[in-house]
């Protein structure tokens, strides 16, 4: 039997990845974990606090309120953007020069930097100066997003829908255009109604892509920060203070590093768990 030689050199090939992941994920994450269990008053002096910060965050009504706002915001976003995106994708032309025109128009909002989106909508919705603000006020509504909570929510949601529905459209359109023409012909021959074509051909064929779209929109909207920060700064009052905005306020505004770290981890776990549960459910459903 030949002597088995072990060559450990292959490990060197893995080192770049290990370093990259370490610097970019593990070390920052562990720093946060570190902060979340300790108290510091600067000068690198730490005191062990156990799960105190976690208890504090989970019990604080401030966290509950931001979390609730976050859940409501994300739910509204998903309920509007997913069906709207699919509807637009269905209405888009299938061939011809208008395809490229539509695709470019659709992609435009995605190319704009997030803080610019916030600033754009801020100006756009100003009651005295902005086009949108003047139109709404002109229609007889008392609209001022810097003062009315309802107006602030409305503007934030409109902004997100404007900014991100395109993503759903592009994904759904890609899925739709991958359905062979023969499916539609077969449905026509069977005498299927347009609704049946959507329900039994287009929707099942879009399922995987829509799963991804929902996941992406869930994660992104759940972590939304830049646009509402620029638009409303979390106001009026705390009415549009979503989790990220709240977190930044605690960490950088109040410099409460311990609670902020604990909150970050709880936040992270919520996103991770929800995504995982959702994905598993969708994929299990697929196998059945």
């Amino acid at each position: 039997m030949a002597r088995k030689t072990t060559n450990q050199k292959a490990w060197f090939l893995v080192i770049p990845v290990v370093l990259l992941v370490a610097f970019n994920a593990i070390i920052p994450l562990m720093t946060v974990v570190n902060y979340s269990f300790q108290e510091t008053f600067g000068d690198n002096v730490f005191f062990w606090e156990g799960v105190k910060w976690y208890e504090q965050v989970l019990r604080s009504s401030r966290f509950h309120d931001s979390l609730l706002r976050q859940i409501i915001f994300t739910s509204i976003i998903l309920v509007i953007e997913i069906p709207l995106g699919v509807a637009i994708a269905l209405a888009m032309p299938k061939k011809g020069i208008w395809v490229s025109v539509c695709l470019v128009l659709m992609a435009l909002p995605l190319l704009i930097p997030w803080n610019v989106v916030g600033a754009m909508w801020n100006i756009y919705a100003l009651p005295e100066l902005g086009l949108l603000g003047r139109i709404i006020n002109g229609m007889g509504f008392d609209y001022n997003f810097t003062q009315g909570p309802l107006a602030a929510w409305f503007t934030t949601i409109m902004m997100d829908v404007w900014h991100w529905t395109s993503l759903v459209v592009l994904l759904a359109y890609a899925a739709l255009s991958s359905i062979p023409d023969a499916y539609y012909q077969a449905a026509k021959i069977d005498g299927a109604t347009p609704w049946a074509v959507f329900r039994y051909i287009q929707l099942p064929k879009m399922k995987r892509v829509l799963t991804i779209a929902i996941l992406l929109r869930f994660m992104d909207s759940f972590m939304i920060y830049t646009e509402p920060f620029v638009l409303t700064g979390g106001g009026p009052g705390n009415t549009t203070t979503f989790l990220s905005i709240d977190l930044v306020k605690i960490a950088l505004g109040q410099f409460d590093l311990g609670p902020a770290a604990a909150m970050s981890l709880i936040y992270f776990l919520i996103v991770l768990l929800t995504s995982w549960i959702f994905y598993t459910l969708m994929m299990n459903n697929e196998e059945k």
């Binding site: 062979p180 023969a182 077969a186 021959i189 299927a192 039994y200 064929k205």
Partner: protein, 366 residues
């Protein structure tokens, strides 16, 4: 239930998909549309189905003008080259879908689906979804969906093209049995001459949007009326060369010659396009006889597949193909001699490429 095309033209933009076409298809047996890709097979099938409207001309069915009748009202069924089934329906629901749309009672649906599933060996798979099936089973499901309703017109658009070889043979053997005893007109599009011959019935040779010849399959094969039909209905491609008829002999390349047979005596002297199927060109000395003419060329490719040898060789700038039984190893690049069975040659006019003279060739084994 005959389907009739009367002067049908299909144009899309500036492009002509189907040139003026007259065609009458009868029920019983297969009506085969034979042609390469882009020859217009799919366009014809879509016109028959009613998925497309002709630009001009009329389509008649059973003495009724159905040109403007929509797909849903035509009572057709169709199987595509791709395996098309409803992705989240079970096999049972897939097969049942046309009956459900038609509003049949549940008991009858169950009975009819059961029967078709039995016929297509799908009975154990009725609860599965299409994605859990093999390609062959998926196409069987699509076939079952097409056969479950009593359609007047069954359109099969290269249904076996995406299946692997074994499955294709298996399903092709079953097809005639499946369509037997149906009153329907069955149309079958294929690009393979062999498939047309195996399925029999009638064949229409298609080339660039034109039907070049239509008739009984064997007859079309035996006696192509023009060069294009001969080319469409030959695999490997038919050999063609220009020959000169002069003083009772045909002269090829100025070197090979053979006496003009009784069938062609009356032809005027001059140039003709001669065509001969590859299996009538065999390595010299494998077969002898006075009707054989000898040609020599440089071997380009030599393929041996167990029972037959296919050799491509070049004579004076023209590539020839020889297909013969048995194993005839021929070194590539070497000079080799072949024999043409001159009794099996077709002669076409130089100008219009129509068959120059049929004579008594009718009925011979080509």
């Amino acid at each position: 239930m005959a389907l009739e095309f009367r002067d049908v033209v299909k144009r899309v933009g500036a492009e002509i998909y189907i040139y003026p076409t007259d065609l009458k298809l009868e029920p019983g047996g297969f009506n085969i549309l034979l042609g390469t890709t882009l020859s217009g097979k799919t366009s014809l099938i879509q016109l028959m189905a009613g998925l497309e409207r002709p630009t001009s001309g009329e389509i008649w069915f059973e003495g009724r003008n159905i040109t403007t009748v929509s797909v849903q009202k035509r009572n057709v069924s169709m199987v595509h080259q791709q395996f098309i089934n409803y992705p989240n329906f079970s096999v049972f629901e897939n097969i049942a879908s046309p009956l459900k749309v038609a509003g049949l009672p549940k008991v009858e649906i169950r009975a009819r689906v059961g029967k078709v599933a039995e016929l297509l060996k799908l009975s154990p798979l009725l609860d599965r979804r299409p994605l859990e099936l093999s390609g062959g089973q998926q196409q069987r499901t699509a076939l079952a969906r097409a056969l479950v309703k009593d359609s007047d017109l069954v359109l099969l658009d290269e249904p076996l093209a995406n299946l692997d070889y074994k499955l294709r043979e298996e399903l092709r053997d079953e097809l005639p049995r499946l369509i037997k005893d149906r009153g329907a007109t069955v149309v079958y599009a294929t690009s393979e001459p062999e498939e047309a011959l195996l399925l029999g019935g009638h064949t229409a040779c298609l080339h660039e949007g034109r039907i070049t010849q239509f008739g009984e399959t064997a007859e079309v094969y035996r006696l192509p009326q023009d060069l294009i039909s001969a080319q469409v209905f030959s695999d490997p491609p038919i050999n063609t060369a220009t020959v000169v008829k002069h003083e009772g002999v045909f002269l090829l390349n100025g070197t090979t010659s053979w006496p003009v047979g009784a069938d062609h005596e009356k032809l005027a002297d001059g140039e003709y396009v001669m065509a001969i199927r590859p299996h009538q060109v065999v390595p010299a000395n494998a077969k002898t006889g006075e009707r054989m003419a000898r040609i020599e060329g440089i071997v380009l490719v030599s393929e041996i597949s167990g029972s037959e040898s296919v050799v491509r060789f070049e004579v004076e700038g023209t590539t020839w193909i020889s297909q013969s039984h048995g194993i005839h190893p021929t070194p590539v690049g070497a000079r080799a001699a072949f024999e043409i069975d001159t009794k099996k040659c077709f002669y076409f006019n130089m100008d219009d490429h129509r068959l120059a003279s049929a004579g008594s060739m009718r009925g011979g084994d080509v």
